[in-house]
């Protein structure tokens, strides 16, 4: 087993995940249709250091949720490797070893209405990971643990007797967080944890996540399409487009000195709350189908700086200002880096 020579906590290299969405074999033969493969994740590399929050942003269908599921092992990867604290997740090992690894990573899902079993009491929902990983043997200890977890997410131990339907969306998301923390994980994968919530509740949940991170030294992989939320919570940000990472950079750099044209486009779409009169420039076009992605750089049909090389050759990520960018225009130096400033809401 190779150890984490890079010193990174989570290391993803050349990760690919393809989904076969072809028609059934017989239909394909009769109608002479080819196989159809969705390249949901098409070769990405990410390194996440311990204690940081790495965010993935992108439009729907860009593969960010697939990455989240691949990382926690809900999907097996088509190619590439995922290393968690020096352990290759695909490597063969005994069930007990695997469980020990799994205990250290948990996931929070987007929809708190769908991710809690409606027929279980909150106590049992939160106790399940503790029972499953055999972390507690006697009943008194289990009750104490669940009570503590509920208190950590600002609920009360008495809430454990209730059912999920008795809670609001924000409270349910707190229950999901308590469940995720139950196995004392070090790494949390959060797939759009606040996008189903109202803004005032979103603020409560984001504050809670920041508090918990500081208290337990958690590492987050945070998936979101909301750039303002990502700006608030992340250490570093990766921008995904059609299954590829187009830019990775420390948060401040990404927002003030965006490089990839797609990143700039995404930043342009953030609603202007400061009433500076800045017009959102609506970008023409939509995300193309990942079944037949455009040749070369997949962003070229929407890119105002596209040239022949962009249509023919897939750009490789190059290191720049503490991050990476996959863009020919940046590499050739024909697209100057742009400075952006923001006015804070008063």
């Amino acid at each position: 087993m190779p150890d984490g020579s890079s010193g990174q906590f989570v290391r993803i290299a050349g990760l690919k995940r393809y989904f076969d969405v072809s028609a059934p074999w017989l239909v394909r033969m009769l109608e002479r249709r080819p196989r159809q493969i969705v390249q949901a994740v098409d070769g990405i590399d990410i390194e996440i250091a311990k204690g940081e929050t790495f965010s993935l942003v992108g439009e729907s269908g860009c593969g960010k949720s697939t990455v989240a599921r691949l990382v926690v092992g809900l999907y097996p990867p088509t190619a590439g490797r995922i290393e968690f604290d020096g352990n290759d997740m695909a490597g063969r090992r005994s069930g007990a070893d695997m469980a020990a690894l799994r205990r250290r990573m948990q996931m929070i899902f987007q929809d708190p209405y769908a991710s809690l079993n409606p027929r279980w009491r909150v106590f049992d929902i939160i106790a399940e990971p503790i029972r499953a990983f055999g972390l507690s043997s006697d009943k008194a200890d289990l009750e104490k643990r669940v009570g503590d977890l509920l208190r950590q997410v600002r609920l009360t131990p008495a809430d454990g007797r209730k059912f999920p339907h008795e809670f609001s969306g924000g409270q349910r998301q707190r229950i999901s967080i308590a469940r995720a923390l139950a196995s004392q994980p070090e790494f949390l994968v959060c797939d759009e944890p606040t996008s189903a919530l109202d803004v005032s509740v979103q603020a409560q949940i984001l504050n809670l996540m920041v508090d918990l991170q500081r208290r337990f030294g958690l590492t987050y992989l945070f998936i979101s399409h909301n750039l303002a939320v990502v700006y608030h919570i992340s250490t570093r940000v990766g921008v995904m487009y059609l299954g590829r990472l187009v830019e990775v950079a420390p948060t401040e750099t990404l927002f003030t000195r965006p490089k990839h044209p797609y990143t700039r486009m995404l930043l342009d779409t953030i609603p202007d709350l400061d009433m500076t009169g800045r017009q959102r420039s609506p970008v023409a076009g939509e995300v193309p189908s990942p079944i037949n992605p455009p040749s070369g750089c997949t962003f070229h049909p929407r890119c105002p700086f596209a040239q022949d090389r962009c249509r023919a050759e897939r750009p490789v990520p190059i290191a720049i200002e503490g991050g990476t960018v996959a863009c020919h225009a940046i590499e050739e130096g024909r697209l100057p880096v742009e400075e952006r400033t923001y006015v804070a809401n008063s």
């Binding site: 729907s60 603020a203 342009d268 953030i270 400061d274 009433m275 008063s346």
Partner: protein
């Protein structure tokens, strides 16, 4: 009969109440809501889920789902009362004078008919046009909402369109008979940010060109800040604050609006923590006495617990908060710790 700009407002809502009879008594979901919209104006209605904003919109277009019903107040469109019209009469107003755009563009289109068919049907319901003329108009509408290749796309079915394109079709449908008012309920919520900007730009352009008024219902302050002329902030079935969008967004007068604005992550400064409003909006069965916001309010006084504030003028806006009354919020009350 386009109304000149100085005439009475296009839409007047006065003391609107919407209630739901239930086994445990009647729930008041919209409580004494009044506002008006001028021709060509965009009024944003914002609030958290359950605040009553969509119900207000549905009451205006006459599509309240039973057992919900209008329990009081009146709604006037171009001076004519529309809340008590018989069903068939209201059907003629809806579509012809008021257009509607809903959140999910897939469920607001019929999957079994081509978009052209649906447009033509709507046009012919409201306008005396032949099929050929209606088709020409449908084509013009599709071009106007920016659907590329409208000549071929007109015969396509809803599933062949992407989310953003579908929402454009829905907007075209709402525009079929040249309505004076469009009620848009969360028109961009189901869409990606990049598409959201396109749809908002489109709505704004159409408003400007046709002088159509829009009631834009959304929970997204960003969309409101960019699109609306005026904004009404709703909380627990009532309007907490209403005024020109710039005043409300930049200088909120109601503690709830202030909290709401503070809880939106901002791009200028990275703060450790976001301002949060503790607690959640009360359920309709548990609306506290006095000001409905008082349990979550950081600026409350004794008066807020007993007396319910109405909207009062504060500069250009109106806010329902005792702070802005001469009597003030009353004696300070000691807040018990919210929780450990």
């Amino acid at each position: 009969m386009a109304a000149p700009s100085n005439n009475p407002p296009l839409l007047e809502v006065k003391n609107l109440r919407v209630e739901f009879p239930t086994r445990r008594g009647t729930l008041l979901a919209v409580d004494d809501v009044s506002f008006d919209i001028a021709p060509g104006e965009v009024l944003g209605v914002v609030g958290e889920s359950g605040a009553g904003k969509s119900l207000t919109g549905n009451a205006i277009i006459g599509l309240l789902e039973p057992p919900g019903r209008i329990a009081g107040g009146e709604i006037r469109l171009e001076g004519r009362r529309i809340d008590d019209l018989p069903y068939e009469e209201m059907r003629k107003v809806r579509g012809a004078r008021i257009g509607a755009i809903f959140q999910d563009p897939l469920t607001s289109l019929n999957p079994l008919y081509s978009v052209g068919h649906q447009l033509i049907e709507t046009i012919q319901t409201h306008l005396p046009l032949s099929s050929a003329e209606a088709r020409t108009r449908a084509l013009d509408l599709l071009k106007e909402v920016g659907i590329p290749g409208a000549e071929t796309r007109i015969d396509h079915y809803p599933h062949q369109f992407s989310g953003g394109m579908r929402q454009r079709v829905v907007i075209a449908l709402a525009l079929c008979a040249g309505p004076r008012l469009i009620v848009a309920d969360e028109p961009t919520t189901a869409l990606d940010v990049s598409i959201q900007a396109q749809i908002i730009a489109l709505l704004k352009r159409l408003c400007r060109e046709h002088g159509t008024a829009v009631m834009l219902v959304t929970h997204d302050m960003g969309v409101i800040a960019e699109t609306a002329d005026r904004v009404a902030v709703m909380y627990a079935g009532r309007i907490a604050e209403i005024g020109p969008v710039r005043d409300v967004v930049k200088h909120a007068k109601h503690p709830y609006t202030k909290g709401l604005m503070g809880s939106i992550p901002s791009l200028g400064v990275r703060t450790e923590r976001l301002t949060q409003i503790d607690g959640a909006m009360p359920r309709l069965t548990e609306i506290p006495t006095g000001c409905a916001f008082n349990p979550r309010c950081t600026e409350r006084g004794g008066r807020c617990l007993v007396e319910r504030p109405d909207l009062m003028a504060v500069g250009a806006t109106r806010a329902a908060c005792w702070q802005h009354d001469r009597g003030g919020v009353g004696p300070a009350i000691v807040r018990e710790a919210v929780d450990a």
